[in-house]
Amino acid sequence: MSSDLSQFNDAFFEEASEHMTSIEDGLLQLEQRPSDLELLATIFRSAHSIKGVAGMLGFTGVAQFTHKMETLLDQLRNGKLAVTPPVADLLLRCTDVLKALIGEAKGGEKPDAAQVGHLEQQLADCAAGKVLTANQAPSAPAPVVQVSATTGPTALDAPPHPMQFTIGWTPPGNIFQLGLDPMQVIKDLRNLGAVSHLKVDAGKLPALDTMDPEQCYLAWSLVLDTIKPQEVVEAVFEFVKDDSILSVLDTTPDPPVAAPSAAVAAPSPSHVRRTADDEGDVKPLGAILVETGAVSQEELNNALAQQKKVGEILVEQHVITPQQVAQALETQKHAEATAQAKKSDTATIRVDTAKIDRLINLVGELVITQSMLTDLGKNFSPVKVPLLLEHMAQLERNTREIQERVMGIRMLQIGTAFQRFPRLVRDLAQKSGKKLQLVTGGEETELDKGVIESIGDPLTHLIRNSADHGLEPPSERTAAGKHEIGTIRLNAYHEGGSICITVEDDGRGLNRDRILAKALKQGVIQEGEKLSDDQIWQLIFQPGFSTAEKVTDVSGRGVGMDVVKRNIEALGGTVGIKTTTGKGTIFTLKLPLTLAIIDGMTVRVGNELYIIPLVSIVESIQPKTDTVRTIADQAELINVRGAYHPILRLHQAFNIDPEHTDLLESILVIVETEGERVAVMVDELVGQQQVVIKSLEKNFRKVPGVAGATILGDGTVGFILDIRGMLDLTRRSELKVA
């Protein structure tokens, strides 16, 4: 059963990441509104959900850590502790660790155990009412608005004490059909503490010939000794409780008095031993012996090395044969391997059911149209041609709409990508000592899932850049007559067939002179070269280009902006900059709506059609005699308003039999990527259309100069040109000009 639960893992990770976002978001807001109980309740619920499901799926690390967070959150919720900046900060750092722990469960790296332990300790201290000192919570108080709240606990909560519950449980008859196993529930209860008096009531079991093997006729009763509160015990039945007959009675024999004195008292040693598994703070015997100096670490290791493995012992006792051990080991290895394979990311997507409903309706319409056409075909006569055309038009409409809607399934709201930035800005403010606030807009704008996943990094770099370079320290801002809190605005909106995302700050703006000086020093531009403002701003995307005067913790090593440009261009987008000295800077990312469909220009060479992505096309020109130059009689160049671009004869590069070999009769399409331009020679521009990108590599391999394939209107295949590859082809065919 427990292995079957792994099918829920993906859903859990998805859910957990949503809950994590809500926790983090809630905590950030809580810093501003420390007394918002509603908010606390939301955070608590999210944490509780993560804990519950993580526990059920066997991610004990996650469950245990969340449990400790929950304890503190509960104190806050009950008003026993106040939300102070250090507390909020501690909880935020805990969310980082929790994320790492979930990442580990997903098959990622193990988080630093020392850090986890340290945080757990702090959580416990904090929950126990110890006021956090500056040392424990090293970061400064909340950055944006100073939160004033009285520190110190108002009351102390009792530490966990032994409890006894008497549980009676009749699972729903269809529990097996629900995919659940009553034994797993009992096992989960065992994990909470000691189960005694376990009884199975088989009274309802019918005679064998009338028994439905898929029904559960059994009921259980048991006594559980645990230190967990009643909610936790009940949470075990989370998935079955709706249809079960369940009673959980607190039958603790001698309930301890929840007096403060008892609360502070240390738990008895026996108690510690029993809860070792739950709390994980009891050291192994070896570690204690080493610590007390009874043995050295080396001696301990030697002793441990002599310990026999269970397989060896069983073989020695002639219980099993060595072959059986080998087989079992093999099975284990295989299980590990499959588990590993399973862990590798299966990409899932959560889709709004309304979207699915619309799609189902559309498919229904399609089926109707199809049956109308079938009918028509069965007794067709020439008089019915208009009807046929009408049905065909309807078919086309249905198909197109379905395509759009199916594409829409991949579209997610960009808000999911924005959610991580409030935290980033908060941390940046703390590190830089500046006062910052983040304002976001257009969260509901929809964007392809793939694009959303890829814009996170570029946006992070841009926001860092704004926080570090753009926005001034408070003193400088007040001196300049601005509000002391610097604002970063993150906005998304549709523009034509693209999505625009802007990162705007009201800082000092880009420094023209400093950028120029730096560019001259780096040899990116020459003395006396005339550049437009826009060209100057684009210089900051040069690799290794940074005008920061000092390297800071946040940024300043010159990495970042070039990555932004490269990543955005890889997505078929562009980056624009607008800046006003003293007023601020706006970065605008323009991205295609989806990665699966592009706007393309179909071009013809001889009998062959190729598609050039529209985003790469700068312009198309008809060359004239005086604009074409050659070098060494080989490399051809075209002069476009003073700039020379190499010419790539597509028919030569692709061995096509062209209509024109004379440049003057052909058309040159000037394409650009990463700031480089090349003129591609074609016979004709056929037209502009949207094309669905199909993979050529799936059944074949990568072809130089070809980015992918698509299906043209007549059902044949057309190739989409790879502009980067075109540039490389130019070089390979020795057309490169030094």
Partner: protein
């Protein structure tokens, strides 16, 4: 249990499913008969125009849109350095799966599905340097027919058709 196995085997044979992998789809190139393991054949379709892929070996004729999937098409005559013929309405594309990739093979015509027992397939003879027999699994005998049993994986090297990524 054994009875169950036996009956399912009979059923398989009745349904024409080769249980020991000895059914071959045979096709012709000129007068010669070739066979491929039927389990590797996805479908058979008539020849339709293909789109040439720039800068690829001549035996790769291009790609085809197979219900939305882009499938490379290989001319087997060309691959075997045989004389090329014009494609006609009888020209057939045998769509096979090689290393998890779907590939179409252009052949002159498709003939039968033949059962050839393992012992009726002999190792490919050595012709020295004259003829490359590495893409043959063996020479099969089916009645009086001689079938060159192809190893389609060996028709493509890793650079032409890389293994599944």
């Amino acid at each position: 249990m054994a009875a169950l196995e036996a009956s399912s085997k009979e059923l398989d044979q009745e349904m024409g499913i080769a249980t020991d992998g000895n059914q071959y789809l045979t096709f012709t190139l000129g007068d010669e008969l070739y066979g491929v393991d039927i389990l590797k054949v996805q479908e058979i379709k008539g020849y339709t125009a293909v789109t040439r892929i720039p800068n690829t070996p001549t035996y790769i004729k291009g790609v085809l849109n197979l219900r939305g999937t882009i499938v490379p098409i290989v001319d087997l005559r060309c691959r075997f350095n045989m004389e090329e013929t014009k494609y006609t309405m009888f020209t057939v594309i045998v769509v096979v799966v090689v290393r998890e990739k779907v590939v179409g093979l252009i052949v002159d015509s498709v003939s039968d599905v033949l059962n050839i027992a393992k012992q009726d397939i002999q190792d490919p003879p050595e012709f020295g340097h004259k003829i490359d027999t590495s893409f043959l699994n063996g020479i099969g005998k089916a009645g009086d027919k001689l079938v060159a049993v192809l190893n389609i994986e060996r028709l493509f090297d890793e650079t032409t058709l890389p293994g599944s990524v």
